[in-house]
Amino acid sequence: MIRFEDVTKTYKGSSITALRDVNVDIERGEFVFLVGSSGSGKTTLLKLLLREELADSGSIWVAGRDIGKLSKWRVPELRRNLGCVFQDFRLLPNKTVTENVAFALEVIGRPKNQIRAQVPQVLDLVGLGQKGERFPDELSGGEQQRVAVARAFVNRPLVLLADEPTGNLDPATSIGIMKLLDRINRTGTTVVMATHDVGIVDAMRRRVIELDRGHVVRDQARGVYGYGDDLPSSSRGVPAVAIGSSWSGEDSGEESLSAGRVAAVRARRGAR
Protein backbone atom coordinates (compact mmCIF):
# COMPACT_ATOMS: atom_id res chain seq x y z
CA MET A 1 0.00 0.00 0.00
CA ILE A 2 2.80 2.39 0.99
CA ARG A 3 6.46 1.97 0.20
CA PHE A 4 9.41 4.26 0.85
CA GLU A 5 12.57 3.36 -1.08
CA ASP A 6 15.76 5.10 0.06
CA VAL A 7 13.90 8.32 0.64
CA THR A 8 15.94 11.34 1.66
CA LYS A 9 14.50 14.76 2.33
CA THR A 10 16.19 18.01 3.29
CA TYR A 11 14.07 21.15 3.48
CA LYS A 12 15.19 24.11 1.43
CA GLY A 13 17.35 26.41 3.46
CA SER A 14 17.77 23.87 6.23
CA SER A 15 21.02 22.15 7.14
CA ILE A 16 19.27 19.26 8.89
CA THR A 17 18.30 16.21 6.89
CA ALA A 18 14.68 15.61 7.89
CA LEU A 19 14.65 12.07 6.48
CA ARG A 20 17.65 9.99 5.43
CA ASP A 21 17.55 6.74 3.43
CA VAL A 22 14.16 5.75 4.73
CA ASN A 23 12.95 2.30 3.68
CA VAL A 24 9.50 1.36 4.87
CA ASP A 25 6.90 -1.03 3.51
CA ILE A 26 3.35 -0.87 4.80
CA GLU A 27 0.77 -3.44 3.75
CA ARG A 28 -2.88 -2.79 3.07
CA GLY A 29 -4.88 -2.82 6.29
CA GLU A 30 -1.95 -2.32 8.64
CA PHE A 31 -2.02 0.00 11.63
CA VAL A 32 1.33 1.73 12.07
CA PHE A 33 2.59 4.07 14.77
CA LEU A 34 5.34 6.52 13.86
CA VAL A 35 7.27 7.47 16.96
CA GLY A 36 10.42 9.41 17.68
CA SER A 37 11.46 12.54 19.47
CA SER A 38 10.50 15.98 18.28
CA GLY A 39 12.11 16.83 14.98
CA SER A 40 12.83 13.23 14.09
CA GLY A 41 10.90 13.48 10.84
CA LYS A 42 7.44 12.02 11.51
CA THR A 43 5.48 14.91 10.10
CA THR A 44 7.88 15.10 7.16
CA LEU A 45 7.15 11.49 6.31
CA LEU A 46 3.41 12.19 6.30
CA LYS A 47 3.87 15.33 4.21
CA LEU A 48 5.81 13.35 1.62
CA LEU A 49 2.94 10.87 1.44
CA LEU A 50 0.49 13.71 0.83
CA ARG A 51 2.87 15.25 -1.66
CA GLU A 52 2.87 18.46 0.27
CA GLU A 53 6.63 18.04 -0.03
CA LEU A 54 8.76 16.27 -2.61
CA ALA A 55 11.56 13.85 -1.72
CA ASP A 56 15.09 14.80 -2.77
CA SER A 57 15.89 11.23 -3.72
CA GLY A 58 14.35 7.81 -3.54
CA SER A 59 10.79 6.98 -4.44
CA ILE A 60 7.51 6.74 -2.59
CA TRP A 61 4.76 4.41 -3.71
CA VAL A 62 1.15 4.70 -2.70
CA ALA A 63 -1.34 2.12 -3.96
CA GLY A 64 1.08 1.03 -6.66
CA ARG A 65 1.92 4.47 -7.94
CA ASP A 66 5.19 6.38 -7.68
CA ILE A 67 3.86 9.63 -6.27
CA GLY A 68 7.10 11.49 -6.96
CA LYS A 69 6.35 11.05 -10.67
CA LEU A 70 2.76 12.18 -10.35
CA SER A 71 2.06 15.26 -12.44
CA LYS A 72 0.74 18.21 -10.48
CA TRP A 73 -2.81 17.90 -11.71
CA ARG A 74 -3.03 14.31 -10.46
CA VAL A 75 -2.09 15.20 -6.88
CA PRO A 76 -5.75 15.79 -5.91
CA GLU A 77 -6.51 12.26 -7.04
CA LEU A 78 -3.78 10.97 -4.69
CA ARG A 79 -5.14 13.01 -1.80
CA ARG A 80 -8.64 11.65 -2.29
CA ASN A 81 -7.18 8.28 -1.38
CA LEU A 82 -5.54 9.63 1.77
CA GLY A 83 -7.63 10.83 4.71
CA CYS A 84 -5.91 13.20 7.10
CA VAL A 85 -6.30 14.05 10.77
CA PHE A 86 -4.20 16.55 12.73
CA GLN A 87 -3.54 17.54 16.29
CA ASP A 88 -5.38 20.85 15.76
CA PHE A 89 -8.49 19.34 14.10
CA ARG A 90 -8.57 21.95 11.29
CA LEU A 91 -12.34 22.27 11.22
CA LEU A 92 -14.06 25.24 9.61
CA PRO A 93 -15.50 27.30 12.48
CA ASN A 94 -18.32 28.84 10.44
CA LYS A 95 -19.70 25.51 9.32
CA THR A 96 -21.72 23.01 11.33
CA VAL A 97 -20.50 19.47 11.95
CA THR A 98 -22.56 18.18 9.05
CA GLU A 99 -21.37 20.98 6.76
CA ASN A 100 -17.76 20.39 7.72
CA VAL A 101 -17.98 16.74 6.73
CA ALA A 102 -20.09 17.47 3.65
CA PHE A 103 -17.55 20.08 2.55
CA ALA A 104 -14.96 17.37 1.96
CA LEU A 105 -17.26 15.63 -0.49
CA GLU A 106 -18.67 18.81 -2.00
CA VAL A 107 -15.29 20.20 -3.04
CA ILE A 108 -14.33 17.03 -4.84
CA GLY A 109 -17.51 17.34 -6.86
CA ARG A 110 -19.54 14.52 -5.32
CA PRO A 111 -23.23 14.61 -6.19
CA LYS A 112 -25.68 15.93 -3.61
CA ASN A 113 -27.57 12.71 -3.06
CA GLN A 114 -24.33 10.88 -2.31
CA ILE A 115 -23.38 13.59 0.20
CA ARG A 116 -26.79 13.40 1.85
CA ALA A 117 -26.44 9.66 2.20
CA GLN A 118 -22.83 9.40 3.36
CA VAL A 119 -22.52 12.25 5.84
CA PRO A 120 -25.06 11.02 8.43
CA GLN A 121 -23.66 7.54 8.05
CA VAL A 122 -20.12 8.58 8.91
CA LEU A 123 -21.34 10.85 11.72
CA ASP A 124 -23.09 7.84 13.23
CA LEU A 125 -19.87 5.89 12.88
CA VAL A 126 -17.93 8.46 14.89
CA GLY A 127 -20.73 8.76 17.43
CA LEU A 128 -21.90 12.25 16.54
CA GLY A 129 -25.15 11.36 14.86
CA GLN A 130 -27.06 13.66 17.20
CA LYS A 131 -24.73 16.64 16.96
CA GLY A 132 -24.72 17.38 13.25
CA GLU A 133 -26.13 20.88 13.67
CA ARG A 134 -23.57 22.01 16.24
CA PHE A 135 -20.70 24.31 15.40
CA PRO A 136 -17.14 23.22 16.22
CA ASP A 137 -16.85 25.68 19.12
CA GLU A 138 -19.90 24.04 20.70
CA LEU A 139 -18.06 20.71 20.88
CA SER A 140 -15.42 19.28 23.20
CA GLY A 141 -11.92 18.65 21.83
CA GLY A 142 -12.61 14.96 21.55
CA GLU A 143 -15.82 15.56 19.66
CA GLN A 144 -14.07 18.00 17.34
CA GLN A 145 -11.45 15.38 16.59
CA ARG A 146 -14.24 12.91 15.84
CA VAL A 147 -15.61 15.36 13.30
CA ALA A 148 -12.15 15.62 11.77
CA VAL A 149 -11.94 11.82 11.59
CA ALA A 150 -15.38 11.72 10.01
CA ARG A 151 -14.28 14.26 7.42
CA ALA A 152 -11.12 12.29 6.69
CA PHE A 153 -13.00 9.03 6.38
CA VAL A 154 -16.21 10.07 4.65
CA ASN A 155 -14.72 9.53 1.21
CA ARG A 156 -13.54 6.03 2.24
CA PRO A 157 -9.83 6.62 1.65
CA LEU A 158 -7.41 3.72 1.29
CA VAL A 159 -5.16 5.21 3.94
CA LEU A 160 -5.82 7.36 6.99
CA LEU A 161 -2.89 9.53 8.06
CA ALA A 162 -2.97 10.99 11.54
CA ASP A 163 -0.40 13.43 12.92
CA GLU A 164 -0.61 13.38 16.71
CA PRO A 165 -4.41 13.13 16.67
CA THR A 166 -4.52 12.80 20.46
CA GLY A 167 -1.93 15.49 21.12
CA ASN A 168 -4.50 17.96 22.43
CA LEU A 169 -6.75 15.49 24.21
CA ASP A 170 -6.91 14.07 27.71
CA PRO A 171 -6.20 10.32 28.15
CA ALA A 172 -9.81 9.21 28.38
CA THR A 173 -10.80 11.18 25.29
CA SER A 174 -7.71 9.93 23.47
CA ILE A 175 -8.85 6.38 24.03
CA GLY A 176 -12.16 7.18 22.41
CA ILE A 177 -10.37 8.51 19.35
CA MET A 178 -8.07 5.47 19.25
CA LYS A 179 -11.06 3.14 19.40
CA LEU A 180 -12.47 5.03 16.45
CA LEU A 181 -9.24 4.75 14.47
CA ASP A 182 -9.06 1.09 15.37
CA ARG A 183 -12.59 0.58 14.09
CA ILE A 184 -11.73 2.38 10.88
CA ASN A 185 -8.63 0.20 10.56
CA ARG A 186 -10.83 -2.87 10.89
CA THR A 187 -12.78 -1.80 7.83
CA GLY A 188 -9.58 -2.44 5.89
CA THR A 189 -8.28 1.12 5.90
CA THR A 190 -4.55 1.42 6.41
CA VAL A 191 -3.76 3.75 9.31
CA VAL A 192 -0.47 5.59 9.81
CA MET A 193 -0.32 7.63 12.98
CA ALA A 194 2.50 9.81 14.27
CA THR A 195 2.33 10.10 18.03
CA HIS A 196 4.11 10.86 21.27
CA ASP A 197 1.46 9.09 23.32
CA VAL A 198 3.34 6.36 25.14
CA GLY A 199 0.27 4.92 26.80
CA ILE A 200 -1.60 4.44 23.58
CA VAL A 201 1.30 2.91 21.68
CA ASP A 202 2.15 0.57 24.51
CA ALA A 203 -1.43 -0.49 25.07
CA MET A 204 -2.34 -1.09 21.44
CA ARG A 205 0.73 -3.11 20.52
CA ARG A 206 0.68 -2.43 16.82
CA ARG A 207 3.52 -2.01 14.41
CA VAL A 208 5.88 0.75 15.56
CA ILE A 209 8.33 2.58 13.32
CA GLU A 210 10.73 4.74 15.27
CA LEU A 211 12.56 7.63 13.68
CA ASP A 212 15.63 9.31 15.07
CA ARG A 213 17.01 12.39 13.34
CA GLY A 214 15.61 11.21 10.04
CA HIS A 215 16.70 7.58 10.28
CA VAL A 216 14.43 4.63 10.80
CA VAL A 217 15.99 3.11 13.90
CA ARG A 218 13.31 0.55 14.67
CA ASP A 219 10.53 -1.20 12.82
CA GLN A 220 8.76 -3.59 15.10
CA ALA A 221 5.54 -5.57 14.78
CA ARG A 222 3.43 -5.34 17.94
CA GLY A 223 5.89 -2.84 19.32
CA VAL A 224 5.94 -0.46 22.26
CA TYR A 225 6.83 3.21 22.44
CA GLY A 226 10.41 2.77 23.61
CA TYR A 227 12.90 -0.08 23.89
CA GLY A 228 13.51 -2.03 27.05
CA ASP A 229 14.13 1.02 29.19
CA ASP A 230 12.80 1.04 32.70
CA LEU A 231 9.32 -0.21 31.85
CA PRO A 232 8.31 -2.71 34.48
CA SER A 233 8.49 -6.14 32.99
CA SER A 234 4.94 -6.80 34.05
CA SER A 235 3.70 -4.12 31.74
CA ARG A 236 5.79 -5.31 28.83
CA GLY A 237 4.67 -8.81 29.45
CA VAL A 238 1.02 -8.03 28.78
CA PRO A 239 -0.02 -10.14 25.84
CA ALA A 240 -0.69 -7.87 22.93
CA VAL A 241 -3.67 -9.89 21.81
CA ALA A 242 -5.49 -9.33 25.06
CA ILE A 243 -5.07 -5.57 24.94
CA GLY A 244 -5.82 -5.45 21.26
CA SER A 245 -9.12 -7.16 21.79
CA SER A 246 -10.00 -4.82 24.61
CA TRP A 247 -9.79 -1.92 22.17
CA SER A 248 -12.49 -3.34 20.05
CA GLY A 249 -14.69 -4.08 23.02
CA GLU A 250 -17.88 -2.09 22.89
CA ASP A 251 -19.13 -2.49 26.44
CA SER A 252 -18.27 0.10 29.04
CA GLY A 253 -16.60 -2.38 31.38
CA GLU A 254 -13.84 -3.15 28.94
CA GLU A 255 -13.56 0.49 28.01
CA SER A 256 -12.77 1.54 31.56
CA LEU A 257 -10.36 -1.34 31.85
CA SER A 258 -8.33 -0.17 28.89
CA ALA A 259 -8.55 3.43 30.04
CA GLY A 260 -7.12 2.36 33.36
CA ARG A 261 -4.37 0.48 31.65
CA VAL A 262 -3.33 3.44 29.50
CA ALA A 263 -3.41 5.76 32.48
CA ALA A 264 -1.22 3.34 34.40
CA VAL A 265 1.38 3.25 31.63
CA ARG A 266 1.30 7.02 31.37
CA ALA A 267 1.83 7.36 35.11
CA ARG A 268 4.81 5.03 35.07
CA ARG A 269 6.34 6.92 32.15
CA GLY A 270 5.76 10.24 33.81
CA ALA A 271 7.35 9.11 37.05
CA ARG A 272 10.49 7.96 35.31
Binding site: L50, R79, P93, A104, I108, G109
Partner: protein, 304 residues
Protein backbone atom coordinates in the same frame (compact mmCIF):
# COMPACT_ATOMS: atom_id res chain seq x y z
CA UNK B 1 -14.82 17.45 -13.78
CA UNK B 2 -17.92 19.55 -13.63
CA UNK B 3 -18.02 22.19 -10.95
CA UNK B 4 -21.50 22.56 -9.47
CA UNK B 5 -22.93 25.97 -10.27
CA UNK B 6 -24.72 26.48 -6.98
CA UNK B 7 -21.52 25.83 -5.06
CA UNK B 8 -19.59 28.37 -7.15
CA UNK B 9 -22.39 30.94 -6.94
CA UNK B 10 -22.63 30.56 -3.18
CA UNK B 11 -18.87 30.81 -2.61
CA UNK B 12 -18.52 33.80 -4.94
CA UNK B 13 -21.42 35.66 -3.35
CA UNK B 14 -20.13 35.05 0.14
CA UNK B 15 -16.61 36.14 -0.85
CA UNK B 16 -17.99 39.37 -2.31
CA UNK B 17 -20.11 39.98 0.75
CA UNK B 18 -17.23 39.40 3.15
CA UNK B 19 -15.07 41.91 1.32
CA UNK B 20 -17.83 44.22 0.24
CA UNK B 21 -16.00 47.49 0.86
CA UNK B 22 -13.02 46.41 -1.22
CA UNK B 23 -15.31 44.96 -3.85
CA UNK B 24 -17.29 48.17 -4.07
CA UNK B 25 -14.13 50.23 -4.45
CA UNK B 26 -13.03 47.95 -7.28
CA UNK B 27 -16.41 48.16 -8.96
CA UNK B 28 -16.51 51.96 -8.64
CA UNK B 29 -13.09 52.45 -10.20
CA UNK B 30 -13.91 50.05 -13.02
CA UNK B 31 -17.11 52.02 -13.61
CA UNK B 32 -15.36 55.40 -13.69
CA UNK B 33 -12.55 54.26 -15.95
CA UNK B 34 -14.90 52.54 -18.35
CA UNK B 35 -17.18 55.59 -18.41
CA UNK B 36 -14.11 57.53 -19.58
CA UNK B 37 -13.35 54.90 -22.19
CA UNK B 38 -16.95 55.19 -23.33
CA UNK B 39 -16.74 58.97 -23.55
CA UNK B 40 -13.57 58.76 -25.62
CA UNK B 41 -15.17 56.25 -27.97
CA UNK B 42 -18.32 58.34 -28.38
CA UNK B 43 -16.28 61.47 -29.14
CA UNK B 44 -14.27 59.60 -31.70
CA UNK B 45 -17.26 58.13 -33.42
CA UNK B 46 -19.28 61.32 -33.56
CA UNK B 47 -16.39 63.25 -35.11
CA UNK B 48 -15.77 60.52 -37.63
CA UNK B 49 -19.46 60.53 -38.49
CA UNK B 50 -19.58 64.26 -39.17
CA UNK B 51 -16.56 64.12 -41.42
CA UNK B 52 -18.26 61.41 -43.41
CA UNK B 53 -21.50 63.40 -43.61
CA UNK B 54 -19.73 66.31 -45.23
CA UNK B 55 -17.41 64.56 -47.61
CA UNK B 56 -13.71 65.11 -47.64
CA UNK B 57 -13.24 67.39 -50.66
CA UNK B 58 -15.60 70.19 -49.73
CA UNK B 59 -13.52 73.06 -48.41
CA UNK B 60 -15.87 75.99 -48.94
CA UNK B 61 -19.65 76.16 -49.23
CA UNK B 62 -21.18 79.15 -51.03
CA UNK B 63 -24.88 79.35 -50.24
CA UNK B 64 -26.98 81.18 -52.80
CA UNK B 65 -30.05 83.12 -51.76
CA UNK B 66 -33.14 81.07 -52.39
CA UNK B 67 -34.53 84.02 -54.32
CA UNK B 68 -31.42 84.69 -56.43
CA UNK B 69 -32.04 85.42 -60.11
CA UNK B 70 -30.50 83.50 -62.99
CA UNK B 71 -28.21 86.45 -63.73
CA UNK B 72 -26.88 86.54 -60.23
CA UNK B 73 -26.30 82.79 -60.35
CA UNK B 74 -24.25 82.97 -63.54
CA UNK B 75 -22.28 85.96 -62.15
CA UNK B 76 -21.38 83.80 -59.17
CA UNK B 77 -20.37 80.96 -61.51
CA UNK B 78 -18.19 83.38 -63.39
CA UNK B 79 -16.52 84.60 -60.23
CA UNK B 80 -15.83 80.99 -59.18
CA UNK B 81 -14.04 80.41 -62.48
CA UNK B 82 -11.99 83.52 -61.95
CA UNK B 83 -10.90 82.64 -58.44
CA UNK B 84 -7.48 80.94 -58.75
CA UNK B 85 -7.64 79.25 -55.30
CA UNK B 86 -10.65 77.16 -56.35
CA UNK B 87 -9.84 73.83 -57.94
CA UNK B 88 -13.37 72.73 -58.74
CA UNK B 89 -16.95 73.27 -57.65
CA UNK B 90 -20.08 71.19 -57.50
CA UNK B 91 -23.53 72.78 -57.62
CA UNK B 92 -26.55 71.56 -55.63
CA UNK B 93 -29.83 73.12 -56.71
CA UNK B 94 -32.83 73.68 -54.41
CA UNK B 95 -33.97 70.09 -54.59
CA UNK B 96 -30.52 68.53 -54.13
CA UNK B 97 -29.64 70.90 -51.32
CA UNK B 98 -32.94 70.07 -49.65
CA UNK B 99 -32.19 66.35 -49.84
CA UNK B 100 -28.75 66.93 -48.35
CA UNK B 101 -30.12 68.95 -45.47
CA UNK B 102 -32.73 66.36 -44.73
CA UNK B 103 -30.13 63.64 -44.51
CA UNK B 104 -27.88 65.81 -42.34
CA UNK B 105 -30.75 66.47 -39.96
CA UNK B 106 -32.18 63.01 -40.13
CA UNK B 107 -31.74 62.70 -36.39
CA UNK B 108 -33.53 65.97 -35.71
CA UNK B 109 -37.01 65.79 -37.14
CA UNK B 110 -37.91 69.29 -35.89
CA UNK B 111 -35.36 70.81 -38.23
CA UNK B 112 -36.07 68.46 -41.09
CA UNK B 113 -39.77 69.29 -40.83
CA UNK B 114 -39.23 73.03 -41.22
CA UNK B 115 -37.24 72.69 -44.45
CA UNK B 116 -38.85 72.81 -47.86
CA UNK B 117 -37.12 72.65 -51.25
CA UNK B 118 -38.13 76.24 -52.02
CA UNK B 119 -36.62 77.70 -48.85
CA UNK B 120 -33.45 75.68 -48.94
CA UNK B 121 -30.64 77.68 -50.52
CA UNK B 122 -28.79 76.12 -53.47
CA UNK B 123 -25.12 75.69 -52.74
CA UNK B 124 -21.77 75.61 -54.53
CA UNK B 125 -19.43 73.17 -52.83
CA UNK B 126 -15.87 74.02 -53.73
CA UNK B 127 -12.67 72.11 -53.47
CA UNK B 128 -9.66 74.39 -52.91
CA UNK B 129 -6.14 73.85 -54.15
CA UNK B 130 -5.00 74.72 -50.66
CA UNK B 131 -7.66 74.25 -47.95
CA UNK B 132 -5.98 76.99 -45.87
CA UNK B 133 -7.12 79.59 -48.41
CA UNK B 134 -10.73 79.19 -47.30
CA UNK B 135 -10.87 82.60 -45.50
CA UNK B 136 -9.54 84.37 -48.63
CA UNK B 137 -12.15 82.68 -50.81
CA UNK B 138 -14.82 83.63 -48.32
CA UNK B 139 -13.83 87.31 -48.44
CA UNK B 140 -14.09 87.23 -52.25
CA UNK B 141 -17.69 86.01 -52.20
CA UNK B 142 -19.14 87.78 -49.17
CA UNK B 143 -21.29 90.70 -50.35
CA UNK B 144 -21.57 89.48 -53.92
CA UNK B 145 -25.18 89.93 -55.04
CA UNK B 146 -27.15 86.68 -54.68
CA UNK B 147 -24.75 85.14 -52.17
CA UNK B 148 -26.53 84.28 -48.95
CA UNK B 149 -23.53 83.12 -46.90
CA UNK B 150 -20.11 81.52 -47.23
CA UNK B 151 -18.76 78.96 -44.82
CA UNK B 152 -15.82 76.65 -44.63
CA UNK B 153 -17.21 73.93 -42.41
CA UNK B 154 -14.30 71.61 -42.83
CA UNK B 155 -11.98 74.03 -41.09
CA UNK B 156 -14.43 74.22 -38.24
CA UNK B 157 -14.76 70.48 -38.20
CA UNK B 158 -11.01 70.14 -38.24
CA UNK B 159 -10.55 72.43 -35.28
CA UNK B 160 -13.32 70.70 -33.43
CA UNK B 161 -11.73 67.40 -34.32
CA UNK B 162 -8.46 68.61 -32.84
CA UNK B 163 -10.27 69.55 -29.67
CA UNK B 164 -12.07 66.27 -29.62
CA UNK B 165 -8.79 64.47 -30.17
CA UNK B 166 -7.26 66.18 -27.17
CA UNK B 167 -10.29 65.40 -25.04
CA UNK B 168 -10.22 61.86 -26.31
CA UNK B 169 -6.55 61.44 -25.46
CA UNK B 170 -7.06 62.86 -21.98
CA UNK B 171 -10.01 60.51 -21.45
CA UNK B 172 -8.04 57.52 -22.67
CA UNK B 173 -4.96 58.30 -20.59
CA UNK B 174 -7.08 58.77 -17.48
CA UNK B 175 -9.02 55.64 -18.33
CA UNK B 176 -5.85 53.59 -18.69
CA UNK B 177 -4.48 54.90 -15.39
CA UNK B 178 -7.78 54.13 -13.70
CA UNK B 179 -8.02 50.74 -15.36
CA UNK B 180 -4.61 49.86 -13.95
CA UNK B 181 -5.84 51.10 -10.56
CA UNK B 182 -8.96 48.99 -10.82
CA UNK B 183 -6.90 45.98 -11.81
CA UNK B 184 -4.80 46.45 -8.69
CA UNK B 185 -7.91 46.97 -6.57
CA UNK B 186 -9.55 43.82 -7.87
CA UNK B 187 -6.31 41.93 -7.43
CA UNK B 188 -6.16 43.12 -3.85
CA UNK B 189 -9.78 42.27 -3.19
CA UNK B 190 -9.17 38.73 -4.41
CA UNK B 191 -5.98 38.51 -2.38
CA UNK B 192 -7.95 39.43 0.73
CA UNK B 193 -10.66 36.94 -0.15
CA UNK B 194 -8.01 34.24 -0.53
CA UNK B 195 -6.47 35.25 2.77
CA UNK B 196 -9.76 35.16 4.63
CA UNK B 197 -10.46 31.75 3.14
CA UNK B 198 -7.09 30.18 3.82
CA UNK B 199 -8.60 27.61 6.21
CA UNK B 200 -11.12 26.46 3.63
CA UNK B 201 -8.43 26.40 0.96
CA UNK B 202 -6.20 24.32 3.23
CA UNK B 203 -8.97 21.80 3.79
CA UNK B 204 -9.83 21.74 0.11
CA UNK B 205 -6.25 20.95 -0.86
CA UNK B 206 -6.09 18.27 1.81
CA UNK B 207 -9.19 16.42 0.73
CA UNK B 208 -8.14 16.53 -2.92
CA UNK B 209 -10.13 19.35 -4.50
CA UNK B 210 -8.75 20.16 -7.94
CA UNK B 211 -6.95 23.42 -8.61
CA UNK B 212 -9.81 24.63 -10.75
CA UNK B 213 -12.34 23.88 -8.10
CA UNK B 214 -10.39 25.99 -5.65
CA UNK B 215 -9.70 28.77 -8.12
CA UNK B 216 -12.98 29.24 -9.92
CA UNK B 217 -14.88 31.05 -7.14
CA UNK B 218 -12.08 33.59 -6.85
CA UNK B 219 -11.80 34.04 -10.59
CA UNK B 220 -15.53 34.53 -10.75
CA UNK B 221 -15.37 37.10 -7.97
CA UNK B 222 -13.05 39.25 -10.08
CA UNK B 223 -15.19 38.70 -13.13
CA UNK B 224 -18.32 39.81 -11.25
CA UNK B 225 -16.55 42.96 -10.05
CA UNK B 226 -15.46 43.78 -13.60
CA UNK B 227 -18.92 43.04 -14.92
CA UNK B 228 -20.75 45.15 -12.33
CA UNK B 229 -18.34 48.05 -12.92
CA UNK B 230 -18.76 47.89 -16.66
CA UNK B 231 -22.53 47.65 -16.33
CA UNK B 232 -22.53 50.94 -14.45
CA UNK B 233 -20.39 52.44 -17.23
CA UNK B 234 -22.71 51.05 -19.91
CA UNK B 235 -25.64 52.69 -18.16
CA UNK B 236 -23.70 55.95 -17.93
CA UNK B 237 -22.93 56.02 -21.64
CA UNK B 238 -26.52 55.13 -22.47
CA UNK B 239 -27.93 57.92 -20.30
CA UNK B 240 -25.29 60.42 -21.42
CA UNK B 241 -26.15 59.68 -25.02
CA UNK B 242 -29.85 60.22 -24.40
CA UNK B 243 -29.07 63.20 -22.19
CA UNK B 244 -27.06 65.08 -24.81
CA UNK B 245 -29.81 64.67 -27.31
CA UNK B 246 -32.73 65.70 -25.13
CA UNK B 247 -30.71 68.59 -23.69
CA UNK B 248 -30.10 69.95 -27.17
CA UNK B 249 -33.69 69.41 -28.13
CA UNK B 250 -35.16 71.16 -25.12
CA UNK B 251 -32.74 74.11 -25.21
CA UNK B 252 -33.87 74.85 -28.72
CA UNK B 253 -30.33 74.74 -29.98
CA UNK B 254 -31.26 72.65 -32.96
CA UNK B 255 -33.77 75.18 -34.17
CA UNK B 256 -31.10 77.87 -34.27
CA UNK B 257 -28.77 75.71 -36.24
CA UNK B 258 -27.77 77.43 -39.44
CA UNK B 259 -26.99 75.59 -42.56
CA UNK B 260 -23.28 75.01 -42.73
CA UNK B 261 -20.70 74.92 -40.09
CA UNK B 262 -22.69 75.01 -36.90
CA UNK B 263 -24.68 71.89 -37.73
CA UNK B 264 -21.43 70.04 -37.79
CA UNK B 265 -20.40 71.38 -34.42
CA UNK B 266 -23.46 70.21 -32.59
CA UNK B 267 -22.80 66.92 -30.83
CA UNK B 268 -25.43 64.38 -31.70
CA UNK B 269 -26.31 61.02 -30.26
CA UNK B 270 -24.88 57.91 -31.82
CA UNK B 271 -26.99 55.65 -33.98
CA UNK B 272 -27.99 52.39 -32.30
CA UNK B 273 -25.38 50.28 -34.06
CA UNK B 274 -22.43 52.38 -32.95
CA UNK B 275 -23.86 52.73 -29.46
CA UNK B 276 -24.16 48.97 -29.23
CA UNK B 277 -20.54 48.49 -30.34
CA UNK B 278 -19.35 51.03 -27.79
CA UNK B 279 -21.29 49.36 -24.99
CA UNK B 280 -20.00 45.95 -26.04
CA UNK B 281 -16.41 47.23 -25.97
CA UNK B 282 -16.97 48.62 -22.47
CA UNK B 283 -18.38 45.32 -21.23
CA UNK B 284 -15.53 43.32 -22.74
CA UNK B 285 -12.88 45.60 -21.22
CA UNK B 286 -14.60 45.34 -17.83
CA UNK B 287 -14.63 41.56 -18.01
CA UNK B 288 -11.00 41.45 -19.12
CA UNK B 289 -9.92 43.69 -16.24
CA UNK B 290 -11.86 41.57 -13.74
CA UNK B 291 -10.52 38.28 -15.03
CA UNK B 292 -6.97 39.61 -15.37
CA UNK B 293 -6.98 40.98 -11.81
CA UNK B 294 -8.27 37.77 -10.32
CA UNK B 295 -6.02 35.55 -12.46
CA UNK B 296 -2.94 37.37 -11.26
CA UNK B 297 -4.16 37.19 -7.64
CA UNK B 298 -4.96 33.50 -7.92
CA UNK B 299 -1.64 32.75 -9.56
CA UNK B 300 0.36 34.69 -7.03
CA UNK B 301 -1.49 34.07 -3.81
CA UNK B 302 -3.20 30.73 -4.29
CA UNK B 303 -0.32 28.33 -4.43
CA UNK B 304 -1.92 25.01 -5.23
Amino acid sequence: MAIPLDYVARETASNLWRNRVMALAGIAIVAVSLALVGTALVLRQSVARQIVALGDNVNVQIFVQASASGGELSAIRMLIHQTPQIKSCGYLDHQQSYQRMRSLFADEPTVAGVLTPATTPPVFECDLINPNDAPVVKSVFVGVPGVFSVSYPQAAVRSWQRLANIAQTICLVMAIVLLVCSLVLILNAIRMAIFSRRREIGVMKLVGATNWFIRVPFMLEGLVQGLLGSMVAVLFVLLANLGVHSLLGSSGMTSQVQPGSSTLLSPSNLPAGQLFTTEAIILVIGLIVGVAGSSVAVRRFLDV
